[in-house]
Amino acid sequence: MANESLKAKLEKYEADCKKAEEKFPERVGLKHKKVYTPLDLEGFDYETELGLPGEYPYTRGVQPTMYRSRFWTMRMYAGFATAEESNKRYRYLIANGGTGLSVAFDLPTQIGYDSDDVMAQGEIGKVGVAIDTLKDMEILFDQIDLSKVSTSMTINASASVLLAMYIAVAEKQGVPASALRGTIQNDILKEYSARGTYIFPVKPSMRLITNIFEYCSKNVPKWNTISISGYHIREAGSTAAQEVAFTIADGIAYIEAALKAGMKIDDFAGRLSFFWNAHNNVLEEVAKFRASRRLWARILKERFGAQNAKSMKLRFHTQTAGSMLTAQQPNNNIVRVALQAAAAVMGGTQSLHTNSRDEALALPTTESVTIALRTQQIIAYESGLADVVDPLGGSYYVEAMTNAIEKEAMEYIKKIDEMGGAVEAIEKGYIQKEIQDSAYAWQMAVESGEKTIVGVNKFQQEEKPVEGLLRVDASAGEFQKKKLAQVKAERDNAKVAEELAKLEKAAADESVNLMPVILDCVRAYCSLGEICGVLRKVFGEYKPHVTL
């Protein structure tokens, strides 16, 4: 038998290597074996495990041609200060070859507070753009043709309001909702488990999400109604397999909620999209992307009985890992981002955001954003990584790791199922605890020197503080408050009161889809804070479960 002879050879090889390895003890504890062979893929069947690109189980990619017919969308997450400032940055990115917009909102907007709310003080425009009313949204997309651009919005708890505003701006531009393309993140479960910008308790939050699924399937059919996000779970400290597991468990929970609300799997599953992190370990990440595609396809087909191929395809956006950027020697981050981005491309991402070198220090400057965008362009045009579909398919190592990640993730999903699903697991604090344990283990590994971070715990050097960082000063907040006051003075306030009263009534009736009601509110220039305030009153607020 060929395997027998290989086994024997491997044994000898291991023995021969031993001495040399002992000279390099810090490499002994590595997670993976030093060499992978066909023995690691025993029983591996190409047709069932991989198939061709664009073919079930989509391990090799969701489209047949991948980057041979078009590159991924180079989508740079941006937004800061006011709608006026952000609009400038978007138009700059489009002019420089960015192919999709990605809107970052400030925290008050994400958590449903207006700029004049006491809770918003100090936070206005800091981590993204501040949006109070439709007026701001009109300015944000000024001179940007919404029928041409695809827009991703990182918005969750208040997603319904921002989506409604986007639809309303399109109306004003004369673009029908049916022509709109883009994504809202709309993934509340990971807010509870990892990201922290929740507003309402679980039940009403899940209702808002299924309301959006239902509304969009009829009215905004090209819109990705959710971006089920592993990104923040990883940022909070999870491992690669946990990122896949907890995210797909969230996905299962959304599907079950939609099914329970009476929808049919193939009516909405094709609009579910994902959002992954691209972390430091390049090949592990490639395996992670591949494993997640296969896992999702199998779950959709076998567990939910999806018939439509589109429902089974895990399409995803990727962002390079913000938490892996270092404040020390920030130029090194350019290299980290390039490697992470390369992993995303080899893993078959549909769109990509590359972080800027200075983001461990502040929001990125225009110059550093440009380098980050150029990084993607270099990978696309110069590196050759985008020339072949799934270039690492068939690598013993990558296939073995793809299998391993799928298996570990599946074990977690099974455990979560036994607990009663992702919602229960989050309410119990299980998922949070698993993530925190991994985060703590990582930190301790860095502090003990077991894990090396260049410039942080090895190869440190004296540095001067970085100059020329982007600063959002307090004037943005003042400007925003004035603008809001002006809108409030000029709008038809009787109409506002009327729409808000309708919303309150609708919110109290679980059988009503809130999307059309919210749309009426934003058209009347009700502010985000007013709308969320009404919902807060009816729904209450989520109280976190913290286990440390």
Partner: protein
């Protein structure tokens, strides 16, 4: 900050907070503080809240506090979390569920670690409760995870104990094992919209039937704490128990018993410290250990002689 009893009696929260720190750490002067306040204690209604981890105790307490506030009472909360036996540190996270109460000047919340000091734990809690009582809080909650004997002891400082259970997942079994069912004066099945609430109800009833028949039959309430449902029923149960304690004379009996245990503990503690100090400072203890280890003598003889010498 310098601590002064004058500030304490003038209602300074800062002074109450500092007094608890001093007493908890047994810093200089702590006994003087306790001596001064002792006469002013015994006025507050002290309620223990316990249950398995994840039963929703903090959320329930949060709602109960709000309810008592609406009735015009001032409220104290003593929230206890376990101290790590390895490091001696602790993460005290109960405030998270009570953030709404932080700014209410009629509420005082204090987080405490179990600290695992020999037998002193329940007394530390008792002292903190006494300080809150003397300072003038009307109702005081002692909230603790019901997983072990020490927690059960802490709760014994309460006049009325509320046991929180949740349906499913065998939490009920754990509770029975931990012995907290025996100490419940009022029960609540929290998260009662879940499957298994009826079964759990039956199980508690059966447990209660097993015990000796008593005048007080603990009521079993139902709550969904994070939606604020069923809180009033629990409050009624707690108040009825209070009334029962007063009318039956059991309150006096329980409190007399508590004084008895407390004093016995203090005597035990004081003597043991005295003896240990005596023999460690003189280096005798190390000698004794060595001699016993070498089998030259035995611990029984040694202890007889040590204790005998000191209490001649």
């Amino acid at each position: 900050m310098e601590f002064s009893m004058k500030d304490f009696w003038n209602g300074s929260r800062r002074a109450l907070a500092r007094a608890i720190t001093i007493v908890e750490n047994e810093q200089d002067g702590y006994e003087e503080i306790m001596k001064e306040i002792y006469h002013h204690t015994g006025r507050a209604q002290v309620i223990g809240v316990t249950g398995a981890p994840g039963a929703g105790k903090s959320t329930l307490s949060d709602n109960l506090v709000k309810f008592y506030r609406k009735m015009g009472k001032t409220v104290g909360v003593c929230a206890i979390d376990p101290t790590s036996p390895f490091s001696g540190g602790a993460i005290l996270g109960d405030r998270i569920r009570m953030n709404d109460l932080t700014l209410d000047q009629g509420v005082y919340i204090r987080s405490m670690g179990t600290r695992g000091s020999l037998g002193g734990l329940s007394r530390k809690t008792a002292d903190a409760v006494k300080l809150m009582d003397a300072w003038g809080l009307d109702v005081i909650f002692i909230e603790t995870v019901g997983v072990g004997q020490s927690e059960v002891d802490i709760v014994k400082n309460a006049d009325t104990t509320l046991v929180v259970l949740v349906p499913g997942l065998g939490d009920d079994i754990q509770a029975i094992k931990a012995g907290i069912l025996e100490i419940g004066d009022v029960f609540t099945i929290n998260k009662c919209d879940r499957d298994g609430a009826d079964r759990l109800n039956v199980e508690i009833e059966m447990m209660l039937d097993l015990g000796e028949a008593q005048d007080w039959r603990p009521p079993i309430e139902r709550t969904i704490a994070n939606e604020g449902k069923g809180i009033e029923d629990v409050v009624n149960g707690l108040n009825e128990h209070r009334k029962y304690l007063e009318e039956s004379g059991l309150l006096e009996e329980r409190r007399r018993e508590r004084v008895r245990t407390e004093m016995a503990e203090m005597i035990h503690d004081r003597i043991s410290r005295h003896v240990m100090q005596e023999i460690t400072e003189t280096g005798k203890f190390a000698d004794y250990v060595e001699r016993v280890y070498e089998r030259q003598t035995d611990p029984y003889t040694v202890v007889d002689s040590i204790v005998g010498n000191i209490f001649k």
